[in-house]
């Protein structure tokens, strides 16, 4: 590789500064002692202490976590099934409609998805609360899961599965013992994606949440509508930190795994 030109170095530096500076500034200001968010008045962690005493935020965080765990788990099950059906089941009645319904939610504006689900819940007389948010989140995130999993299913060697069947596995055992371990990384990243989508969602949750259940993004949104607040800065910093730790450790784990697979393959090649 040749040395990078000054132009490329500048683009990368500016580009990444643009991506990360706003978050860095947010994190720095979360440690600002002043109530006036824009005036620096010394280092302090008092906004974190205040945040931890704010029951409304803690309640909302708990609801959000529950919703995210439930919806991402159901979405992973349904999304993996949908991916398997799309990739393996060949033709069946209504296949085009099915794949259309998998891809459409990915491009559907959130306001429309939210509005339509709310109208459905009201139409069938379902009280809005945790259940309705879970149903809504499951529906759009299962589509993301299914896209992630089906791209993995498409690239893997089907003869492995056939071999298991030939050797006397039932089709469920073949899936459990052969297919699932192979697509597991995709299923896990699908779950993580569904989980973060659910944690993040403001618009669809606003439509489908009732007075009994408020999620964290709804709380944050109604707070920041009035302007910048130091407590929200602190909350944002905590959320950014969780994501950073999560993503970095996940990428380290996957790097180690791929190194191990590489080693195993080399060992197998030598043995053969």
């Amino acid at each position: 590789m040749t040395k990078m030109s000054w132009f490329n170095v500048t683009s990368i530096t500016l580009g990444f500064a643009f991506l990360y500076l706003p978050m860095v500034i947010l994190v720095i200001y979360s440690f600002n002692a002043s109530q006036l968010v824009t005036v620096w008045a010394g280092f302090s962690t008092k906004w974190y202490a205040e945040l931890l005493q704010n029951e409304a935020f803690l309640d909302a965080a708990w609801v959000t976590l529950q919703v995210a765990v439930m919806s991402s788990t159901i979405a992973t099950l349904l999304g993996t099934m949908a991916a398997y059906v799309l990739v393996r089941s060949g033709r069946f009645w209504g296949r085009t409609l099915f794949s259309g319904m998998i891809y459409a939610p990915l491009v559907m504006p959130e306001v429309i998805t939210g509005l339509s689900l709310l109208l459905l819940f009201i139409g069938i007389g379902l009280d809005r609360g945790v259940l309705t948010i879970v149903l809504a989140h499951t529906t759009f995130s299962m589509c993301y899961v299914s896209v992630v999993v089906s791209s993995r299913l498409m690239t893997f060697d089907q003869s492995l599965e056939e071999a298991a069947l030939d050797l006397g596995c039932s089709s469920f055992d073949a899936f459990r013992l052969v297919t699932l371990p192979i697509i597991a990384p995709a299923v896990i990243s699908g779950w993580l994606l569904a989980f973060t989508l659910s944690l993040d969602d403001l618009v669809i949750a606003s439509f489908t949440a009732g007075p009994s259940a408020t999620t964290l993004p709804i709380k944050i949104f109604s707070a920041v509508r009035l302007g910048v607040s130091p407590e929200i800065n602190a909350l944002s910093t905590i959320m950014i930190a969780i994501v950073a730790v999560g993503v970095i450790s996940a990428s380290l784990v996957s790097k180690r795994n791929s190194l191990r697979i590489q080693r195993d393959e080399q060992a197998a090649a030598r043995a053969a």
Binding site: N8, F16, L26, L78, A82, V85, A104, V111, I232
Partner: protein
């Protein structure tokens, strides 16, 4: 039997929670506003005949007659289009530089582009509120350097909306362009330069056309969600920034006019169908070209 169950479960789920709700929106967009609960008429329990007779295109006629709505559609289209071009201008050089970066850096650079996806969208938009406000970070910085004498008003203007869209969607632009540029055979550019092209000309005649699919994919990935965007205009935009996602939200939550909100949604979807189909075609062509 098992196969049928496997198909039926996700299928029925999507029918019940994606297609049916959408048909309800369509139906309510053809209904009249009513002071009942739910606040529209007709409902199905009045019988099928009365139900069908009760439907009309009044709400759509209303949308066409009130210039708030078509102005909001036009302004959303304009804002989405301008932000797409701006995002391309910001994203292309970054993607280009990433593709030219040393091999061992690329995985890390990719991760750094993807990382913001995992952080809350709301927080990323919110971060700009503190930067762009009157006494915010940007103004303080510019005043301190002496570039400006008076603080600029950026927050609550359309400019802030452009900044917000470019910031939150630029990874969508970088990734497909990077993927296209990464596959590009560097010897083609060398050949162009050997044959007498200047670097800039080689870039225009070779690099840009060969990364066309990435540019198109990235542009749709920014344009489509930007068109229906709600969070960015409501946090960064001002009262003069008209975007249809915000209008729909206000129609529903503030005016409680469900039929009009549904009609706004139906039209927005009709507008989106064209770019979505074009995007699908581009993706299909690309995956065929890959095989």
């Amino acid at each position: 039997m098992k196969r049928a169950a496997l198909i039926a479960l996700p299928y029925l789920w999507l029918l019940a929670l994606f297609l049916v709700p959408f048909l309800i929106v369509l139906k309510i967009s053809l209904s009249d506003t009513d002071l009942a609960i739910p606040p529209y008429t007709p409902t199905l329990d009045q019988g099928l005949r009365a139900f069908i007779d009760g439907l009309d295109f009044e709400n759509f006629a209303f949308l066409a007659s009130d210039d708030l709505y078509w102005k909001a559609y036009l302004s959303s289209l304009r804002i989405a289009a301008i932000s797409t071009v701006l995002t391309l201008m910001v994203g292309y050089p970054v993607a280009y530089a990433m593709a030219r970066a040393p091999e061992e850096w690329r995985a890390t650079l990719m991760m750094l582009v993807i990382l913001p996806f995992w952080t809350s969208f709301l927080i990323r938009v919110y971060a700009w509120m503190g930067i762009l406000s009157g006494e915010g970070f940007l103004n303080q910085f510019l005043l301190w350097t002496g570039v400006i004498a008076e603080p600029l008003t950026i927050l609550n203007t359309t400019t802030a909306v452009y900044i917000g869209i470019v910031y939150t969607y630029v990874p969508f632009m970088i990734l497909p362009i990077y993927a296209a540029l990464d596959r590009l055979d560097a010897s083609l550019i060398e050949a162009a330069e050997d044959l007498g092209c200047s670097r800039l000309k080689a870039f225009w005649l070779v690099t840009v056309p060969l990364s066309k699919n990435g540019i198109i994919a990235g542009s749709f990935l920014v344009f489509i969600p930007a068109l229906g965007e709600f969070v960015i205009p409501s946090l960064l935009g001002g009262s003069k920034t008209l975007m249809i996602g915000k209008v729909l939200w206000e129609e529903f939550f503030n005016n409680r006019d469900w039929p009009v909100a549904s009609a706004v949604a139906v039209i927005l979807l009709l507008i989106l169908i064209v770019p979505i189909i074009l995007f699908q075609r581009n993706q299909q062509r690309q995956s065929e070209a890959d095989q």
